[in-house]
C-alpha cells in the first residue's frame, strides 16, 4: 500500500497486508486453470490464424508470348501459373490483355473488372474500349475506368527477355 493511502490511518499500528486463505486459494486455482486452458487453447488459436502469418511468396515470372506478336490493338493471351493452395497444387490458366502504346512500350492488363470482379473483354461493343458484361463498366486501352468501375484495371509486371514477354505479379495500374 502506498504512503498517501496510509497517512489517514497513521495513528493506527501498522498492519501487515495479509491475503486471506480464500483469496490465496482462488488466485492459485484461477492461475492454474488459466495456465492449463492457455496451454490447450493457445496452440489451437495459433493453428487457426496460421494463414495470416504465412510469408507471402515472391511472385515469379511466366513466359507468355513472343514480343513480335504484340500489336497496338490489345490481344488476349492465356498463360498458366503454378499455384500451391495448401495441400492442393494446380496450374490454373490466367489471361492478360497485352498491347503496345505509342512509344512501343509493352504493357499487360488484368482482365478482372475493378467493379465487382467479372471478366472484361476488348472492343466487345465496337468502341475500342474494354467492356465488362456484368454492369457495363468501360475502360480505355490503358485501363482507365470510364464508367461504373471505381478504379483502373490492374497491370501485370512485364519483363522482356530474349524476345519473349514474361508476366509477373499483379500491381495497381501505373499508366493512368
Amino acid at each position: 500500500m502506498s504512503n498517501h493511502e496510509h497517512h489517514e490511518n497513521a495513528h493506527k499500528p501498522a498492519q501487515r497486508k495479509e491475503m486471506s486463505r480464500r483469496q490465496f486459494l482462488s488466485y492459485t486455482l484461477g492461475g492454474t486453470t488459466a495456465f492449463m486452458m492457455g496451454g490447450a487453447v493457445l496452440p489451437m488459436v495459433r493453428f487457426a490464424v496460421d494463414p495470416l502469418l504465412v510469408k507471402k511468396g515472391e511472385g515469379t515470372y511466366v513466359k507468355v508470348v513472343e514480343e513480335s506478336k504484340i500489336t497496338n490493338e490489345p490481344q488476349e493471351f492465356k498463360f498458366t501459373v503454378h499455384q500451391i493452395d495448401g495441400w492442393y497444387v494446380s496450374d490454373p490458366e490466367l489471361s492478360a490483355w497485352i498491347s503496345k502504346d505509342e512509344n512501343n512500350t509493352i504493357f499487360a492488363l488484368s482482365p478482372v473488372c475493378k467493379h465487382l470482379g467479372c471478366t472484361i473483354g476488348w472492343n466487345v461493343k465496337g468502341k475500342n474500349e474494354f467492356d465488362c458484361p456484368c454492369h457495363d463498366a468501360r475502360y480505355t486501352k490503358d485501363g482507365k475506368n470510364l464508367a461504373v468501375a471505381p478504379n483502373p484495371l490492374d497491370e501485370y509486371e512485364v519483363k522482356l527477355e530474349d524476345g519473349f514477354v514474361y508476366l509477373g505479379p499483379i500491381k495497381p495500374n501505373t499508366r493512368v
Binding site: A40, M44, R46, F47, D50
Partner: protein, 223 residues
C-alpha cells in the same frame, strides 16, 4: 472493471443464482483427496470430461484444414500436421486425447463399479454412462478412418467386417457403414458426418443427462 460489468448485467438479469446453483455444492469428505488421498479415484469422471472438452476444441480446429474426401483427406492431414504452425500439437492433442478419454472413462467406470455407485437409486446414471461409453467407442472408430492412410483403411475394413458378422442384421449394418460396397469415398464422408455431427450431438445430450442426474442425486456415500 470486470466487477462493474458483472454487476451491470446481474442487476438486469439476476445471473448470480444461475452459476451459484452450479458452483455451490459440497464436496463430501470421502471424495476429497485432501482428506483421504485415495479419494483421487473420484477425479476420473472429471478428467474424462476435461479431456472430452479438449477433444471437442481440438476437433473443431482440425476441421479448419481437414477435408473428408478420398483425394484430399490424406494430403490435408499431412498439410495441417507438417505445414501449419502447431499442427503437430493440435493433431497430437486430438490423437492422444482420443486414447486418453477411453483410459479415463474406463478408470471412472471401475471406480463406479467398485464403490457400488451404480446401485439404486443411480441405475439410470449407470445406463447413461454406458451409452456414453459406446458413443465414445463410436467416435474412436469413425475418427480412425479420417486420416485416410493404410492403417485407417484396414482398421475400418476389419471393424465393419466384425459388425457384418452380427446375425441377420450384419450385412445391413455393413452396407450402412460403407455407404456402398467398399471402404471408399462414401464411407469417408459418412464417417466424417457421424464423427463430427451425429455422435458429438448425442454425446453432449448424454453428458448433460449424466451431470443433471449426479447433481440431482448427489454423489454416493462412503464405502
Amino acid at each position: 472493471m470486470f466487477k462493474s460489468v458483472y454487476n451491470w448485467i446481474d442487476e438486469r438479469l439476476d445471473i448470480t443464482p444461475l452459476w451459484r446453483d452450479v458452483a455451490d455444492h459440497e464436496v463430501p469428505e470421502h471424495v476429497n483427496p485432501a482428506h483421504h488421498f485415495s479419494a483421487f479415484v473420484y477425479c476420473f469422471g472429471g478428467l474424462t470430461f476435461f479431456i472430452t472438452v479438449i477433444q471437442i476444441l481440438s476437433g473443431m480446429f482440425l476441421t479448419m484444414y481437414y477435408v473428408p474426401d478420398i483425394i484430399n483427406a490424406y494430403a490435408s492431414v499431412d498439410y495441417l500436421q507438417h505445414k501449419v504452425a502447431f499442427g503437430q500439437i493440435v493433431r497430437g492433442m486430438h490423437h492422444f486425447g482420443a486414447s486418453l478419454v477411453i483410459v479415463m472413462m474406463f478408470l471412472h467406470t471401475l471406480r463406479v463399479f467398485f464403490t457400488g455407485s451404480y446401485k439404486a437409486p443411480r441405475e439410470m446414471n449407470w445406463v447413461v454412462g454406458m451409452l456414453i461409453f459406446f458413443i465414445m467407442l463410436g467416435l474412436g472408430f469413425t475418427g480412425y478412418l479420417l486420416p485416410w492412410d493404410n492403417k485407417a483403411y484396414y482398421a475400418t475394413k476389419v471393424g465393419v467386417e466384425i459388425a457384418a458378422s452380427v446375425p441377420v442384421l450384419g450385412p445391413y449394418i455393413a452396407d450402412f457403414l460403407y455407404g456402398g460396397d467398399i471402404v471408399g469415398a462414401q464411407t469417408l464422408t459418412r464417417f466424417f458426418a457421424i464423427h463430427v455431427f451425429f455422435l458429438p450431438g448425442a454425446l453432449i445430450a448424454m453428458l448433460a443427462a449424466h451431470f443433471i442426474m449426479i447433481r440431482k442425486q448427489g454423489i454416493s456415500g462412503p464405502l
